[in-house]
């Protein structure tokens, strides 16, 4: 039984290490190609690295390579995703400001709880919510179970944890809501009235323009932008939190 566990753990370790090695290999290839001025190759390598393991630095580099290729929408999406993983990444934030100034596009309009969700990485909020909830429950229940006298600090801890749970739960909802926002990745992508190829074009979207996904219909997303709502082809619009 112990040998079996050992083999399983060793295999798991090998898989993780291989995956990490492949990720690093693609990352190094991307850096090398970028320095050689081969931006399409660099973008492809960074994209492969990000697919294996999404990382803030990889996505920052992917955005830079896409920008050099002239893909403003894809670049903005990559930097937004880098900031989604690590809200404190200064490169991603600076590049986003720069890109939005050049491309003349606005950042997404966030609600208050969505703004709060940007203070920490998305997964941190949900772990905090879980931990604070059970801390509050534990502070209330465990003294009774273990026949300890309920003291003042138990009550204080429970109320603090409860308050933090409510706040982190709201921020988690902001994360879920923010995961439905996305960015137009193709230049002059048509916003259509119906999810059909021959549909009337309501307006044309700028690359990097933010929008909120409301519905899915076949190969189309129904999105709401600052200028109106309509259907857009899946390939031309990518979500911040992936599909």
């Amino acid at each position: 039984m112990k040998l079996r566990h050992f083999i399983f753990l060793a295999s798991l370790f090998c898989v993780i290490e291989n995956s990490r090695a492949a990720e690093n290999k693609f990352f190094a290839q991307g850096v090398e190609a970028y320095r050689a001025g081969q931006f399409p190759e660099a973008a492809m390598a960074f994209e492969q690295s990000a697919q294996i393991s999404p990382a803030a630095g990889t996505l920052v580099n992917l955005g830079i390579a896409q920008w050099q290729r002239g893909h403003a929408g894809a670049a903005i999406l990559a930097w937004e995703q880098a900031r989604w993983i690590d809200p404190f990444d200064s490169r991603a934030s600076a590049n986003l400001k720069f890109a939005r100034q050049v491309a003349q596009v606005d950042p997404p309009q966030l609600k208050w709880f969505e703004t709060a969700s940007t203070w920490l990485p998305p997964n941190a909020w949900v772990w905090l919510a879980g931990a604070s909830l059970w801390l509050a429950v534990g502070a209330l229940v465990l003294p009774g179970i273990f026949r300890r006298r309920k003291s003042g600090w138990h009550q204080t801890l429970a109320s603090l944890a409860g308050g933090f749970f409510i706040f982190s739960l709201t921020a988690s909802l902001g994360v879920v809501s923010r995961a439905q926002t996305g960015f137009v990745v193709k230049k002059n992508a048509p916003l259509r009235l119906t999810p059909t190829r021959d549909s009337e074009v309501v307006s044309t979207l700028t690359a990097g323009e933010p929008a909120r996904r409301l519905r899915v219909g076949g190969n189309y997303f129904f999105i709401r932008t600052a200028g109106g709502a309509g259907w857009v082809v899946r390939d031309e619009f990518k979500l911040l939190g992936g599909e």
Binding site: V31, Y34, P40, A55, A56, G57, V102, V137, G144, V176
Partner: protein
């Protein structure tokens, strides 16, 4: 620099051209060619009217002797230059075979020409029984390069005007083919004078060669016609050998040929590949050549493709440009067979394959000649990576240039999808719930046992009894009679201890017997209990009894313990 035309030069040029004669009275002639034939021999009844063909209302039938048997007929128009004026000449020609000898005539008749009546004079024909001097009618000779062909397959047609008479060569004008289902390409017309085999004889001839394409399947019959034009050669002509040209003004005579029949087969439907443009023959393609393999988005590049073929390529249709999402493809204007490709995105790494195939009539199969895709590198339109410094304070808050590359991948996550939207995370949240439930259950159980200590004692006695039984078995197996007696006595005390309750060590044989009913107490069970306790107590005697038969009590001990356990 091109020469500049003076003001009004175009009008002067038009005025300087010879006028078209429309004022002279329209005249007509009619004659048989030849005028003397043998019975059954072919002659041509030819009518010339100096007017345009469209202005003449020619009758459907003409009045002729009953002995005349009419064959094919034709008509043609030519513009003749008379002195200093142009005049149209229209000729109607009928093939006639007289059935009997005699002197025959087609009487004069009137036709309406441009609203005016024009009299066609009478023409007479002498038909003799036998004439050695009669000369056959002058005719064109029509030759085709193939007679069994596929629909759309171009083939060559040669119209020959043999030298006549005295080996004089005359030019041929207004050559045309009479018959349905054929498309004649006069742009590929070739004229030559050379010695050709006509009716088994080698003689010089004016040859007019053209390409014809059948456009209707089935058997097709067609003939050629043309006007003799003396020395009026039009267009380039190649002359082979010695040639005698006639002197004097040209004599325009409409001649016709014997009809020729060809069989046109439809193209097979099976095996047709994409990119068939109607090319029939045998073709080859050089490897495609791209002007550059590295380009920017929107930058046109030239794809050169050279096709070779056997025979005439003037009607060769190059492949049509396919539709592509990533490329704009523009075909070069014919006769060029190349393409201009414009990449629409830098996400493509190959030029599009351009499907093309031709039909090989020799094998009656379609042959794939698709232009393969070529690897390319398309570079996107770069965006600025640096901005000029702004004076405005608000503008200067934004960075002025793109950051450098991140040296390491940095913070990593398993997926961009938030944990809240992943199923396993909900499962993880159940773990604390399970933990709290387990704690609650444990607390309940603990409180229950506190309220019912007899249950705890019984449970403890059961656990101790099981342990003693195992030791008892071990002692029996080992033949250790002393251990058997000791463990049996201990087990009995343990089994009855919860009933008092008391510590097992504090109990004696009477306490065990007290837990048995009368039948058991005075029966074998009671006896066994007594023996066991007696033996156990004998350990403390000055001289312990021999333990030989104690092992035989094992089965009785088991029975006693079972009965005591049932009461526990």
């Amino acid at each position: 620099m091109p020469p500049q035309m003076p003001p009004g030069g175009l009008i002067q040029l038009q005025v300087a051209q010879p006028a078209v004669d429309v004022s002279s009275p329209v005249t007509a002639t009619a004659a048989f060619d030849p005028p003397i034939v043998r019975a059954g021999e072919k002659t041509f009844y030819r009518v010339n009217v100096e007017a345009t063909e469209s202005s003449i209302q020619w009758p459907e039938e003409i009045s002729a002797p009953a002995e005349f048997k009419f064959g094919a007929n034709a008509r043609g128009q030519i513009t003749q230059f008379l002195g200093n004026k142009y005049r149209s000449l229209t000729t109607f020609i009928y093939e006639v075979r007289p059935a009997a000898a005699g002197h025959f005539a087609i009487t004069n008749f009137t036709v309406n020409t441009a609203g005016q009546p024009v009299e066609i004079p009478a023409a007479s024909l002498d038909v003799v029984a036998d004439s050695t001097n009669s000369q056959p009618a002058r005719q064109l000779v029509l030759e085709t390069s193939a007679t069994n062909i596929f629909l759309g397959q171009p083939f060559r047609v040669r119209v020959l005007l043999p030298a006549w008479p005295a080996n004089e060569i005359e030019a041929l004008r207004e050559v045309q083919l009479n018959g349905d289902g054929l498309m004649t390409d006069k742009t590929a017309l070739r004229q030559s004078i050379e010695v050709a085999c006509v009716n088994g004889q080698l003689k010089p001839a004016f040859i007019c060669e053209m390409t014809v394409t059948p456009i209707t399947p089935g058997p097709l019959k067609f003939s050629a016609q043309g006007f003799t034009a003396g020395r009026e050669f039009t267009g380039p002509i190649s002359i082979h050998g010695q040639v005698t040209l006639p002197g004097g003004p040209a004599k325009y005579v409409l001649l016709v040929s014997e009809p020729v029949e060809i069989n046109v087969r439809p193209l097979p439907a099976e095996g047709e590949r994409p990119g068939f443009t109607g090319a029939i023959g045998k073709f080859f393609r050089d490897p495609p050549h791209l002007s550059t393999h590295r380009m920017r988005v929107g930058e046109p590049v030239s794809l050169k493709v050279v096709f070779h073929g056997e025979g005439d390529l003037t009607r060769f249709m190059p492949p049509a440009p396919p539709r592509s999402r990533d490329w704009q493809i523009i075909a070069d204007p014919p006769p060029a067979t190349g393409f201009t490709l414009i990449p629409q995105t830098d996400e493509t790494s190959n030029t599009p394959a351009i499907p093309f195939c031709y039909f090989d009539p020799a094998t009656a199969k379609y042959v794939n000649l698709t232009i393969p895709s070529l690897p390319v590198t398309v570079v996107g339109e770069g965006l600025p990576v640096q901005l000029p410094a702004a004076d405005d304070a608000a503008e200067s808050a934004a960075p002025l240039k793109l950051s450098d590359l991140a040296p390491t991948p940095g913070k990593t996550v398993a997926s961009l999808k938030p944990l809240q939207l992943r199923g396993w995370f909900v499962g993880v949240q159940l773990l604390p719930v399970i933990g709290f439930l387990a704690l609650w259950q444990w607390d309940r159980r603990r409180r229950f046992f506190e309220a019912h200590p007899e249950i705890v004692r019984r449970l403890q006695a059961c656990r101790a009894l099981r342990q003693k039984k195992r030791q008892l078995q071990k002692a029996v197996a080992g033949g250790d009679a002393a251990a058997l007696i000791q463990h049996a006595a201990d087990a009995m005390k343990i089994a009855v201890a919860p009933h008092f309750p008391a510590q097992p060590q504090a109990l004696v044989c009477a306490d065990v017997l007290a837990q048995l009913n009368d039948a058991e107490r005075y029966g074998r069970v009671g006896e066994t209990v007594g023996k066991i306790f007696a033996a156990a107590d004998a350990r403390f005697a000055a001289k312990p009894p021999a333990p030989a038969d104690w092992l035989a009590l094992h089965a009785d001990v088991e029975t006693v313990l079972q009965k005591l356990e049932e009461k526990l």
